[in-house]
């Protein structure tokens, strides 16, 4: 095996070629052209990459959304495609809220609401599913930037805390109970983290109140609503 692996030994004819290349490389035109050419090639590779992966990525993302929706909306409840029928609800207090309606035989049976609140590290986005009576079917945190290991117990993968909201509604517990224990409410905070669970509880309460405000309108939504 050759112990020297650098470029050093160059035969004379190669040397002439190398010096010609070196002269070329010092010209501004060569530098600009080579840079442009490499950028064009990289762009071409990215275009090809996008072309071959776009459909697969789109269907993976669709599956992700559907998987999260399944966690809050039991699949046996509905027979439509809530993702395809998603629409935005105008609300005086919360602004635009994304709604995923679940229907069975054309009848609205439940809605999933996408609600954001401000946590400790940034926005916490939740998906909250409510049946027609305003009872919580399920809650999941879609995205958050809370402290890992401390406040990420709001994820279903880390703790069952978020599942304890199922079955509750605006009157159960009464309004004063819709807070963390530190604020006189009935929900546990985590050791060393109060702001995060407080924000989650607030988001769920907002979704419940929004549902109460728009219950008639939600139930009366026609089947085909464009986003």
């Amino acid at each position: 095996m050759n112990s020297e692996q650098t470029d050093l030994p160059v035969p004379p004819e190669r040397e002439a070629e190398a010096s010609r290349l070196a002269r070329w490389r010092s010209r501004v035109a060569y530098q600009g052209l080579s840079l442009g050419l490499v950028c064009a090639l990289v762009a071409l590779a990215l275009l090809l990459g996008d072309h071959f992966t776009r459909d697969a990525i789109a269907s993976r993302q669709q599956e992700d959304q559907l998987a999260t929706l399944r966690q809050v909306l039991p699949a046996r409840l509905y027979d439509n495609d809530p993702l395809a029928e998603a629409f935005r609800l105008q609300d005086a207090e919360l602004g635009e809220v994304e709604v995923y309606p679940a229907r069975r035989g054309g009848e609205l049976v439940a809605v999933a609401l996408r609600v954001g609140t401000l946590g400790y590290g940034g926005p916490i986005v939740q998906l909250i599913a409510l049946d027609n009576q305003g009872r919580i079917l399920g809650v999941r945190v879609l995205s958050h930037k809370e402290t890992p290991g401390l406040a990420d117990k709001i994820e279903a993968a880390k703790s069952d805390w978020i599942t304890r909201f199922a079955g509750l509604s605006l009157g159960n517990p009464p309004l004063a109970g819709w807070a963390v224990q530190k604020d006189g409410g009935q929900f546990d905070q985590f050791a060393g983290a109060t702001i995060t669970p407080r924000a989650v509880v607030k988001g769920i309460l907002r979704a419940l109140q929004l549902h109460a405000r728009h219950a008639g309108k939600l139930a009366g939504q026609p089947e085909e609503v464009q986003p």
Binding site: Q5, T6, A56, I57
Partner: protein, 238 residues
């Protein structure tokens, strides 16, 4: 490579290709010796699994970008080498990002956040600049693999230390990264342990890295002393 010195100093000269790989694991470790890529090393190592994922993704990028840049080393002008190399590295990273998102989606859900960060990982540009512009393709690939694996073990170690101290577990959720067959890796080292919050927070990363750096220096010094004692020589790396 023209070190000269006392009679007891031996200069290691001329490397076999395999040595480019092994040297990068320890003696020229990108994180612990070159002190490059500390931003990803400190930011993502809240668990051993995160460290492993980031390390493996970086290794893949290092091998491919090293191979491409080294094969272009004769046509790259020194004046425009930086934008050119960054363009190539960014292209490789984005292609890997798209491919993983499309075809290894479960892995992507764990690593997705980190992959785009690799573009700004100075270890990748650092190896391109310091090594690939001067060496043929095979040593460059070996150097990329060695640097990547050297980076990976440091990340796994920092992540492991922080995870044990911060959560009492080791390799939690490794099966979502490596597949169901690796569930045995997921250990609860300290059952019922609440965890030291500091270890998970950013200062914990700096403290763990500090101890690692000190530990490596101690080991290196012991090794050198033992060498002097047994062989009566001091090996100087070129």
């Amino acid at each position: 490579m023209s070190h000269c010195g006392g009679a007891q100093i031996v200069v290691r000269q001329g490397k076999r290709p395999w040595q480019y790989f092994t040297d990068a694991l320890w003696d020229y470790n990108v994180a612990l010796v070159q002190m490059l890529a500390l931003c990803p090393a400190l930011a993502v190592t809240t668990s051993a699994t995160n460290g492993l994922g980031m390390g493996l993704a970086t290794t893949l990028v290092l091998i491919i970008s090293n191979a491409i840049i080294s094969s272009l080393r004769h046509v790259i002008s020194p004046e425009v080498r930086n934008p050119l190399m960054i363009g190539i590295i960014a292209g490789v990273v984005t292609l890997i990002d798209m491919a993983m998102n499309a075809w290894t989606h479960e892995l992507y859900q764990v690593l997705g956040l980190f992959i785009a960060l690799i573009v700004t990982n100075c270890a990748v540009l650092g190896r391109a600049e310091a090594f690939c512009l001067k060496h043929p393709v095979l040593p460059s690939i070996l150097d990329g693999a060695g640097s990547g694996i050297g980076f990976t073990w440091v990340l796994v170690l920092i992540g492991g230390i922080r995870e044990i101290l911060g959560s009492g577990t080791l390799f939690a959720q490794a099966s979502s990264l490596l597949g169901v067959h690796f569930q045995w890796l997921e250990l609860t080292v300290l059952p019922g342990f609440q965890g030291i919050l500091l270890a998970i927070l950013p200062p914990g990363a700096f403290i763990a890295l500090g101890f690692l750096l000190a530990g490596k220096r101690v080991l290196d010094r012991r090794r050198a002393e033992r060498r002097i004692k047994t062989h009566g020589e001091l090996v100087v790396l070129p």
